[in-house]
């Protein structure tokens, strides 16, 4: 056989396999309500996107099913006010790129006739996909993007359930305030350290703004490329600025570099507040061992929330059964799971698939915190479309495991303050 013909055959086979893929999932009988979901299903964020897709599909299936949990809209065999219509999620790939997210949103609205959109994880892709929804007059629910600017754009059709970087930063300052009251600690100077990508920049900006608001001094702000291989100069800058606490946004390799640098150069602070990411990765904990003991991190979710809502371990179990490699429910997947329920709740209360009716219903959303998987006080949108009941939790590494220490009503361990000093 000619090599050329073989090549043509391979391409034909690939096209055939690709085109025949998604047709099988269509359900036939019950009336269906299409919700369009834009997620990073390929590209650098594909792994995260796959988990989010599983979580959203699980939520949709529970809404369409008949098994009840202490969660809104679950187990009513569809949407009761719409003749038990089932919801159907249609997924489109953003590739993690702003222009592709835009095109994907366009496709879901015009070709799939989605009545609402959900997504998209990365803040940059949420920015463009939500603009398409705004132009088209279709509600957009964002469960998982943390750039504060997204709800400052004055959009009418944009709703965000997750707290943003500003809230997470404020949580640290509220935590410090609570500690001042209960333990009479003295913290004045904060160092803000972060990688120079969207993640570290967003977190750092919010922490600096929070410092101003809550009356702290920013001792120094250090940003570095995440791909760096040595951070001696950066650690030195932190040391000479003599901060009381360090706020740090890093991935795994750079988190390890900084922690080793702090130890080598003897940077003793009362606390290190991490923005999860590298600091909560199992590989970080394995590599650093006891040296990270006492580090704080902000989190959006913890299994400890089971003490408030018993659905947490049950949903976790269902999620593990469906996810590749039996991954546990985490902050991202739990938020996306809740996002689908919030949309289902609004569409049901609207009793209509008209965009205006769904938007009105979303604005009247008021789901109590104990009916969510999250540490939030409630789900209720303010005038900008931001959930005003959102909050993070703060965990501390104690005996090799991150334990919830704040807010005090979901805490499982008391705070250890200050962090232990380095032993040489």
């Amino acid at each position: 056989m000619h090599v050329r013909r073989l090549g043509a055959l391979i391409v034909t086979a690939l096209v055939a396999a690709a085109v025949s893929g998604p047709a099988a999932t269509r359900a036939a009988d019950a009336p269906e309500i299409v919700i369009g979901s834009v997620l990073p299903l390929t590209g650098a964020l594909a792994q995260t996107g796959a988990g989010l897709r599983t979580a959203q599909q699980l939520a949709a299936d529970l809404v369409n099913g008949h098994v009840s949990y202490p969660l809104p809209m679950v187990g009513k065999t569809g949407l009761p006010h719409l003749g038990h219509a089932r919801i159907r999620l249609v997924f489109a790939d953003s590739q993690g790129k702003p222009d592709q997210a835009r095109a994907a949103a366009e496709q879901l609205i015009t070709q799939e006739h989605a009545v609402a959109l959900i997504g998209t994880y990365a803040s940059s892709t949420t920015a463009t996909a939500s603009q398409v929804a705004e132009r088209a007059g279709i509600p957009f629910l964002n469960p998982d993007s943390s750039a504060p600017g997204l709800t400052a754009r004055g959009l009418k059709w944009f709703f965000r359930t997750t707290p943003h970087d500003g809230t997470f930063a404020e949580n640290f300052y509220q935590f410090l305030g609570d500690l001042k009251k209960s333990k009479n600690i003295a913290v004045k100077r904060v160092a803000v350290v972060g990688e120079d990508g969207l993640f570290g920049t967003g977190a750092g900006d919010a922490e600096e703004a929070g410092a101003k608001k809550y009356g702290y001094d920013v001792a120094t702000r250090v940003s570095y490329p995440a791909t760096t291989t040595e951070v001696n100069a950066e650690v030195q800058r932190v040391k000479t600025s003599s901060p009381d606490v360090i706020f740090q946004a890093s991935y795994v390799p750079d988190a390890l570099l900084f922690m080793r640098g702090y130890k080598q150069q003897g940077v003793n602070v009362k606390a290190i507040f991490a923005q999860d990411a590298g600091f909560v990765d199992p590989n970080f904990l394995k590599a650093i061992g006891a040296d990270a003991e006492g580090v704080f991190t902000r989190e959006v979710f913890s299994m400890d929330i089971k003490y408030r809502n018993q659905a947490v371990p049950l949903i976790d179990q269902l999620f593990r059964q469906r996810s590749d490699g039996a991954k546990p429910l985490d902050g991202n997947t739990a938020r996306d799971f809740m996002g689908v329920l919030v949309l289902a709740d609004a569409i049901d209360r609207a009793g209509s698939t008209k965009p205006d009716a769904i938007r009105d219903a979303l604005m009247k959303t008021n789901i109590p915190g104990k009916l969510t998987l999250m540490p939030w006080s409630r789900i209720h949108f303010d005038a900008t479309g931001q959930n005003d009941g959102g909050a993070g939790i703060i965990e501390q590494l104690q005996d090799g495991k991150y334990e919830t220490v704040w807010p005090f009503d979901v805490a499982v361990r008391p705070v250890v303050w200050p962090m232990p000093a380095w032993k040489h």
């Binding site: 390929t42 702003p98 750039a147």
Partner: protein, 327 residues
């Protein structure tokens, strides 16, 4: 020449008809993207195809336009101002970086472009006035003054106009002194220099024009996507996309970038929309396979292959020299 103009005229008429007649947002979106990438591919083609200096940093010129647009709009200035401003900055950047690097031989120019692009990327990420890694979200407006529209039609018309200008400029290039000098330099720089062609001067002119075109495309992109940040405008991945379009279509040919953009948009964008929701990445596999096939069997690209076939059939006389792709 007449055929080229007729073809361009036909594209403009059909495109304008589509812009006014079509209501399907997804098709118009693909059409806009196709034209935008055809412009970017042609921009790359000027320096990398005709002049033979392969650039892997072309996205920074695209970024100049996109950031000019973002800065103008967020500072309350007209986005129309971004077109000359972005083009000027891009042309200056091309002159400054091209002066020491354009005379470099072999792959060194390519490496230099990667280095410069990395520098620009790092610079933008540290500058608060350039939005650092956060980028810019452009506020939603409407109308010709704001260069923003609720419908896709006007965007397609603008992209079509830009495409037509760039194609006309390239037709002119092929018949101009600059075009002949560039191809002479590409074929044999020593021989060209020996008859008095100043390599640095002519290549700098081509590079500056190339950057200008990419910047204009950047303004249009920013006004369309309404979001500008480093990964979506100046990152290495965008530069590679641009270079791939030029290579796939046929390097150093008039219609190569358009053909490459067609393959790129239909496969990488269109197929992704149809089947990307499965998350299995078939679309990327298909696009990758096509690039491999072209690289293995048809290194002259799509247009280069067609021109070769025509030449074999009719004899070489009708085809102007330099219309086929060689680098």
């Amino acid at each position: 020449m007449r055929w080229h103009l007729l073809a361009l005229g036909a594209i403009v008429v059909l495109g304008a008809a589509a812009a006014f007649g079509l209501r399907d947002a997804v098709t118009l979106d693909l059409f806009f993207t196709l034209l935008l990438y055809a412009v970017l591919g042609q921009s790359w083609n000027w320096i990398s195809g005709y002049a033979g200096n392969i650039s892997f940093g072309h996205a920074i010129f695209f970024g100049c336009g996109a950031y000019a647009s973002a800065l103008c709009v967020t500072h309350g200035l007209s986005p129309w101002l971004a077109i000359p401003a972005g083009a000027l900055v891009a042309a200056l950047l091309a002159l400054v970086t091209g002066f020491p690097t354009l005379a470099l031989r072999g792959h060194y120019f390519s490496i230099a472009t990667i280095a410069v692009a990395a520098l620009v990327d790092a610079f933008v990420r540290t500058q608060p006035w350039l939005g650092r890694a956060n980028g810019f979200e452009l506020p939603i407006q409407s109308g010709w003054a704001a260069l923003q529209f609720p419908d896709k039609g006007p965007y397609v018309l603008l992209a079509l106009a830009l495409f037509a200008i760039v194609q006309l400029a390239t037709i002119a290039l092929e018949r101009s002194r600059l075009g002949y000098y560039l191809r002479a330099l590409r074929a044999n720089h020593a021989a060209a220099a020996s008859v008095g062609i100043d390599e640095r001067r002519w290549k700098l002119i081509a590079f500056a024009w190339s950057a200008t075109m990419a910047a204009a495309a950047g303004v249009l992109y920013a006004q369309y996507t309404l979001f500008v940040d480093p990964p979506s405008t100046i990152a290495l991945a965008i530069s590679i996309d641009i270079a791939l379009i030029g290579v796939v279509g046929g390097i150093g040919t008039l219609w190569g970038p358009a053909a490459g953009a067609l393959v790129y948009v239909v496969l990488a964008k269109g197929v992704a929309l149809r089947i990307g929701g499965t998350g299995k990445g078939y679309d990327l596999v298909i696009y990758g396979a096509i690039i491999c096939l072209i690289a293995a069997w048809k290194p002259h690209g799509i247009v280069g292959t067609v021109v070769d076939a025509l030449r074999r059939r009719r004899g070489a006389a009708d085809i102007p020299p330099g219309a086929t792709g060689t680098a």
